[in-house]
Symmetry: C2
């Protein structure tokens, strides 16, 4: 929206990787993934493409850096409480970041499933894994439990954000979800009996409540498999 606001940049300031990543995040926020272009970035930072390439290897590295910066900020807060509360807090924090930066979900999923060696996987693993460890899960199962949480949290948060994205106002959102539910209800009754049955819940469900219910389902599994824990 406020695309032109603050266009008068601190142009005297030296170019740096930090400033470039910051500008990239702003462009992504304002216009989505297609909005980040070296031409636009070049205008915004009042330089030429060569200057940007001096600080950043290529566009994919720039996207990775933008993703990492936003995730790091989202996970920065110290949280306290029971392990379950902490996991909820991390999940809601990531979900909120995805809401604020609609391009984030796709980048996050792509990065996790394409370059698992990057810095973003350990960040999220650590944030969710600490409370999992505090739950009393035996060490050999830490990875499994945390992986399930991580994939669910990112997948579900991304989907919720996408639903919210298509139609900003709550009224349109209801209409949008009703549209999907309606299409599902028209599927072949035999081939899609489950999806049809679930279409109603799709329309009425409360995002936040559903989201946390999924987490609690995983935690219930943890509690059932490792009853010695403090879940």
């Amino acid at each position: 929206m406020a695309t032109r606001t603050g266009r008068v940049q601190r142009r005297a300031e030296a170019l740096s990787r930090e400033r470039i990543v910051e500008a990239a995040v702003e462009l992504l926020d304002a216009a989505g993934e297609t909005g980040l272009t070296f031409r636009v970035l070049t205008e915004r930072l009042e330089t030429g493409p060569g200057a940007i390439y001096w600080h950043v290897a290529n566009k994919s590295e720039l996207l990775a850096a933008a993703t990492d910066a936003v995730v790091a900020a989202a996970l920065a807060g110290e949280s306290e409480g029971t392990p379950r509360e902490e996991i909820h807090a991390v999940a809601l924090g990531l979900s909120a970041a995805i809401d604020r930066h609609p391009w984030l979900a796709a980048q996050l999923l792509l990065q996790l499933s394409r370059s698992p060696g990057g810095p973003v996987t350990p960040r999220i693993l650590e944030a969710l894994g600490r409370p999992v460890r505090a739950l009393g899960v035996p060490e050999e199962h830490w990875f499994t439990a945390t992986s399930v949480l991580m994939h669910y949290v990112l997948g579900a948060a991304g989907q919720n954000a996408a639903n919210r994205q298509v139609a900003e106002p709550a009224a349109d959102r209801a209409e949008f979800l009703a549209g999907i539910a309606g299409r599902w209800a028209e599927l072949d009754p035999e081939e899609y009996s489950f999806t049809r049955a679930v279409a109603g819940q799709m329309r009425e469900h409360d995002d936040r409540e559903q989201f946390l219910a999924g987490i609690d389902l995983v935690l219930a599994g943890v509690g059932a498999l490792y009853p010695g824990g403090r879940a």
Copy 2:
């Protein structure tokens, strides 16, 4: 590899949406996402771009169609057994498809989190949801349980495929995983105590076993929350 094999196409055959999607899948398989180009597609099908645009709205629709075609094929088999066995079978089927078509994971995650109205979501929802229903879960929790399974299965399968992709031979793969584990082991001991502890499991873990363990964790949660069921 066999990029040039079978280049002599049935050129007399009429162009159709089906043939275009088929060719797109072949190009994606051979050269990844960057390998699918309207120029290359045009050569392969011996036409001009206009001809393709007559059958397909744009590239994003073409990618969606290719994704849906591959997923439909992967889920085609009728499966029988206990609900748990069925869920394992669907998950392994999707995982195998992602292995055969390395571009699939990213497309799937993008499509689920960007255009939830598409045909691919109901397909996967149905395949996983039917056995969930058979588990005896109360209807109001079908959606939650199936969502958790879906996001985990796609996320984990995508990550496994990515790990396998980087280094085809098993020996290189071990090296690759050891590389990630090694980098994790070098992270700050305080800030990343969990990730460091888990780095070892990362190196040694068996993909398939870990993958199914995650599913069983979710099913344990289902069994714990809805003890009346037949899990």
